[in-house]
């Protein structure tokens, strides 16, 4: 008797768990989208685009849909490809899963602060770049002394774990800043706001996004270096699509749409964003 009962319990638990799992996992690809972005396959009537959900100014989830520069760029490109805004399905593309999403067809394109690198080109295609960001420094608005990387000597600098940005300053430039590693840039901003660190360094767009979110609290130093060329990630072998998107990007700059979007998202900050279209790479 007891035997059967226990098997029943175990079997029941397992079945329940599997059932819950089965209905749950589909959601995860779609990130936090809730009702939105269920990671559905694109094609047909809709296009699925991967963007960041956690970068203010670039792609930040606001309830059911993301908002930011990348989102605007993606919307424009989709429009040029013949998709109305309501035909776009958004999905969170975290840095760690962008390539996988493109390869597995989870998304049709990725517009998520996705820098074009040779390494990534081996596995995915890139259109663009649509914007060239540079590395910069963010400090509190009342911090006068930090005007460039050299002023960071002896100060506390925050970097997200796994990012090379702080490494560029401390090791490549040999500037003697104290490092505090945080899990992500939001944690860094929290530390900066409370005075636990003196500066945060990464792409100037990301920094400006945070500055715009907290008007008057933070200052982008505008003494930038290096370059991060943001491209539109596509599955390998999308040469035709790549060319269409490059045309869309050129048109987007010509029409002044990009500047408008930059102004919308970063206008309230002192971030001097690039005002000319970057030169597009050739599609392979």
């Amino acid at each position: 008797m007891r035997v059967r009962r226990i098997n029943g319990i175990l079997g029941g638990t397992a079945a329940l768990a599997l059932a819950l799992t089965a209905c749950g996992t589909a959601e995860v690809g779609g990130g936090n989208g809730g009702g939105e972005g269920d990671g559905g396959e694109g094609g047909g009537d809709t296009i699925t685009i991967g963007v960041k959900y956690d970068q203010p100014g670039l792609g930040l989830l606001e309830n059911d849909a993301p908002v930011g520069l990348d989102v605007d760029v993606a919307t424009y490109i989709a429009g040029e490809l013949g998709y109305e805004p309501d035909q776009i399905e958004w999905t969170e593309a975290a840095s760690a899963n962008r390539e996988a999403f493109l390869q597995q067809g989870t998304v049709d394109m990725v517009v998520a602060t996705y820098s074009i690198t040779d390494e990534r080109r081996e596995v995915v295609d890139f259109a663009g770049p649509y914007y060239v960001a540079e590395q910069d420094i963010l400090t509190r608005a009342d911090e006068e002394e930090i005007q460039g990387p050299e002023d960071l000597a002896g100060r506390v600098l925050c970097s997200a774990s796994g990012s090379r940005s702080a490494f560029n300053i401390t090791e490549e430039r040999g500037i003697d800043a104290e490092l505090r590693e945080a899990g992500n840039y939001s944690e860094c901003l929290s530390l900066l706001g409370n005075g636990a660190v003196d500066a945060v360094t990464t792409d100037n767009t990301i920094l400006a996004g945070y500055a715009a979110q907290n008007p008057g609290t933070y200052r982008v130093v505008n003494n930038s270096f290096g370059e991060e060329r943001y491209g539109v990630g596509l599955p390998e072998g999308s040469t035709e699509l790549c060319e269409e998107i490059n045309a869309a990007i050129a048109k987007m700059w010509e029409e002044g749409y990009t500047l408008e979007a930059l102004e919308t998202h970063f206008g309230d900050t002192d971030f001097a964003y690039a005002e000319t279209a970057p030169e597009a790479d050739a599609c392979e």
Partner: protein, 224 residues
């Protein structure tokens, strides 16, 4: 493996932070755990309530969240700094967070140990006129501690492994797991040997600990 061995100083440095974190947190969580247990069985209802609430609450919170709260909340938002250099400041906050979390498990183990003491002994002690503190100090805790050597060993092993969480969660202590991640990310050494090396490092810390406490628990077991 060679590239890994060439970076052995990184590994050693990482593990030195791990060991320091584990040792200091073990010390503080033991002290705090004994205190919490004493409060839990004390005659003062308020102390009992506070101890219960603390243990139940913190025990149910993920360590990541406890450490985030130490790093972003107490350290950063309250602006309490424990050292002039960042490395030591975050280290001490990690010790506080780990101790706060681990002390709950120490306390639960000790309480379980107290439960194994025959009631007659405690009653005999009381009838001899021993006060609560005397009873606890002379009769209850010495026996309880000996009974729970093995569970406390488990707690210490769990603590050693938990120190890795201090590398993230708003603190960023540069202990072994963060060195491993850095070596992965920067391509300093091939991933598999690096992982095996760090895993062995942790096994060298945890396995002997397990056998030692197992041996010790038999050695000091209370014969009943």
């Amino acid at each position: 493996m060679e590239a890994f061995l060439n970076n052995i100083d990184r590994v050693v440095d990482g593990f030195s932070w791990t060991v320091r974190l584990a040792l200091l947190s073990a010390l503080f969580s033991f002290i705090l755990g004994v205190l919490l247990t004493a409060m839990r069985v004390s005659p003062v209802p308020l102390l009992r309530g506070l101890s219960t609430a603390y243990v139940e609450g913190v025990r149910s919170t993920p360590l990541t969240l406890v450490l985030l709260f130490c790093g972003l909340g107490l350290n950063s938002a309250l602006g309490i700094f424990l050292s002039d250099t960042v490395a030591w400041d975050v280290f001490w906050w990690a010790v506080i967070g780990l101790s706060a979390y681990t002390s709950c498990f120490v306390s639960e183990s000790l309480r379980a140990g107290i439960n194994t003491i025959p009631l007659g002994q405690v009653e005999a002690a009381r009838s001899l006129g021993l006060t609560f503190t005397q009873n606890l100090r002379l009769i209850v805790l010495p026996q309880a501690l000996r009974t729970v050597v093995a569970p406390l060993g488990s707690v210490l092993i769990a603590l050693t492994k938990n120190t890795t969480v201090a590398s993230v969660a708003g603190l960023g202590v540069q202990e072994a797991s963060s060195e491993m991640k850095l070596m992965f990310d920067r391509g300093i050494a091939p991933v598999l040997p690096t992982f095996v090396g760090f895993a062995l490092g942790f096994l060298v810390l945890t396995l002997p600990m397990g056998y030692f406490f197992s041996w010790l628990s038999k050695r000091v077991a209370v014969v009943r």
